[in-house]
């Protein structure tokens, strides 16, 4: 039985293995993703982001438990940074979700960001599809809210939760510049800390400038550690989905996201086809030599590469 069929039958180990293939850019993964694509689109995908130390994992843990209590199946993708020097990573988010491990309705997968530009977002979208087809109701994607690829992921989900903590000071400005405008739900976690009220006020003020149609992003208080405020966040997650469906924003947003995804995938495979495949007959090397010797300019060289790609067409090898 092939991977796609096994996955659709709910085989957990197939799911785990498929994710590995996606992460490793294995060509088999694309085949499986093509085959299961029709079975995706049912899950509600939620991005959880915020600065380091905001308590995202603990919050995700508690949200998953609450939604599970409401009868739902949950996937969690926890992304941690890969060391740019060694390619290794320590993925420690499971520590804060340890007692979800043996819950049959929950599946947690830790991913290293692996440093490939744009690749993280592409692979995460693949993993989301795998979970979706597997039958998960909610898919959480937890990332540190810094770096373009993380922002790309957050933009690709249905609902984005931005987790803040009191006392960040200037950091709130930096976050604001990055993803403030895409948060759908704002959570001030560790609300028992000093300055929680001020952080709430700051967020509210910033949100006043946002021009959203029909959805005013709520600013919610929570203490993840003590399971306080969790039900309210879950209610808002559900409400946001209702809003997306009723306003037809869901269809629109997903279409827009798909558009971006197609572009990204196309870009990615063009890169592979143009450079990796081309390099076999050393075209790039030859051109580079010429450009370096001022025999040719880089613009013409680039045109030449594109031309030979178009003439050759896509050959999978």
């Amino acid at each position: 039985m092939d991977l796609a069929k096994k996955l659709l039958k709910g085989d957990k180990r197939t799911l785990a293995r498929l994710i590995t293939l996606i992460e490793n850019d294995d060509p088999h993964a694309i085949e499986v993703l093509k085959a299961i694509y029709n079975h995706t689109g049912k899950a509600h995908v939620i991005g959880i982001t915020g600065p380091p130390g905001a308590g995202k994992s603990t919050l995700t843990d508690k949200l998953a438990k609450e939604l599970n209590k409401r009868g739902k199946k949950i996937a969690i993708i926890a992304v941690d940074p890969t060391s740019p020097f060694t390619g290794g990573a320590i993925l420690g988010d499971r520590v804060r979700m340890a007692d979800l491990t043996n819950n049959p309705d929950v599946f947690i997968r830790s991913m290293g960001s692996r440093g490939t530009l744009g690749g993280l977002a592409k692979n995460t979208l693949g993993v989301i599809k795998a979970f979706d087809a597997y039958g998960m109701d909610y898919i959480f994607v937890e990332t540190v809210g810094v770096g373009q690829s993380e922002v790309d992921i957050v933009k690709a989900v249905d609902t984005t939760i931005l987790v803040m903590v009191p006392g960040l000071g200037d950091d709130i400005q930096a976050i604001k510049a990055g993803i403030m405008e895409i948060g759908d739900i704002f959570v001030v976690n560790k609300a028992d800390l000093e300055g929680a009220h001020r952080t709430m006020m700051e967020l509210e003020t910033m949100l006043d400038f946002r021009q959203d149609e029909g959805w005013k992003p709520p600013v919610l208080e929570a203490i993840g550690r003590d399971n306080i405020g969790i039900g309210q966040i879950c209610d808002n997650i559900e409400k946001h989905m209702d809003f997306l469906v009723k306003s037809d924003k869901l269809g629109y947003a997903r279409r827009e996201n798909v558009k971006k995804e197609i572009i990204e995938i196309a870009k990615g495979s063009m890169e592979v086809h143009i450079f990796n495949n081309n390099n076999k007959d050393n075209q790039l090397e030859i051109l580079a030599e010429r450009v370096a010797n001022k025999e040719q300019d880089p613009y013409t060289a680039s045109d030449e590469i594109l031309k030979s790609f178009i003439n050759r067409g896509i050959k999978n090898d």
Partner: protein, 131 residues
């Protein structure tokens, strides 16, 4: 190999001495591996389930409390129940010599005792992972 090796570093049982496990976790990361660290007080059930979800190549466990004769074989038993035979399982900690062979018989590939350099550990994983 162009994909990172994935290793689950786990502390089964109640023992809270995680210096060794953390040093190993860092050393594996610095050797280019992806390390899933599970934290303290993991049951064998949790370790095996996490290993499945994370699709790891290797489970590395550390016990200093003397409970290895119960916990290590229990992990192997659970893996067998799940019909998993492509994960390398290794252990470390204060394990008396007499206990090592029975643990290997139970399916633990290797036991590393105190004083083992992390490089030995890293090379062992690189050379012995099954997939």
């Amino acid at each position: 190999m162009d994909r990172p090796i994935r290793v689950l570093v786990g502390k089964p049982g109640l023992d809270g001495h995680d210096r060794g496990a953390k040093v190993i976790a860092r050393a594996l990361r610095d050797a280019g591996m992806e390390v899933i660290y599970t934290g303290l007080r993991q049951t064998p059930e949790q370790i095996v389930e996490a290993a499945i979800q994370e699709d790891v190549d290797c489970i590395a466990m550390s016990i200093l409390s003397g409970a290895h004769n119960h916990l290590f074989p229990r992990v192997m038993e659970l893996l067998k129940e799940e019909k998993i035979d492509d994960i390398l399982v290794i252990g470390g900690g204060v394990v008396p010599d007499d206990d090592i062979q029975p643990l290997k018989d139970a399916g633990i590939a290797e036991i590393f005792t105190p004083g083992t350099p992390t490089t030995t550990f890293i090379n062992y994983i690189k050379e012995n992972i099954i997939r």
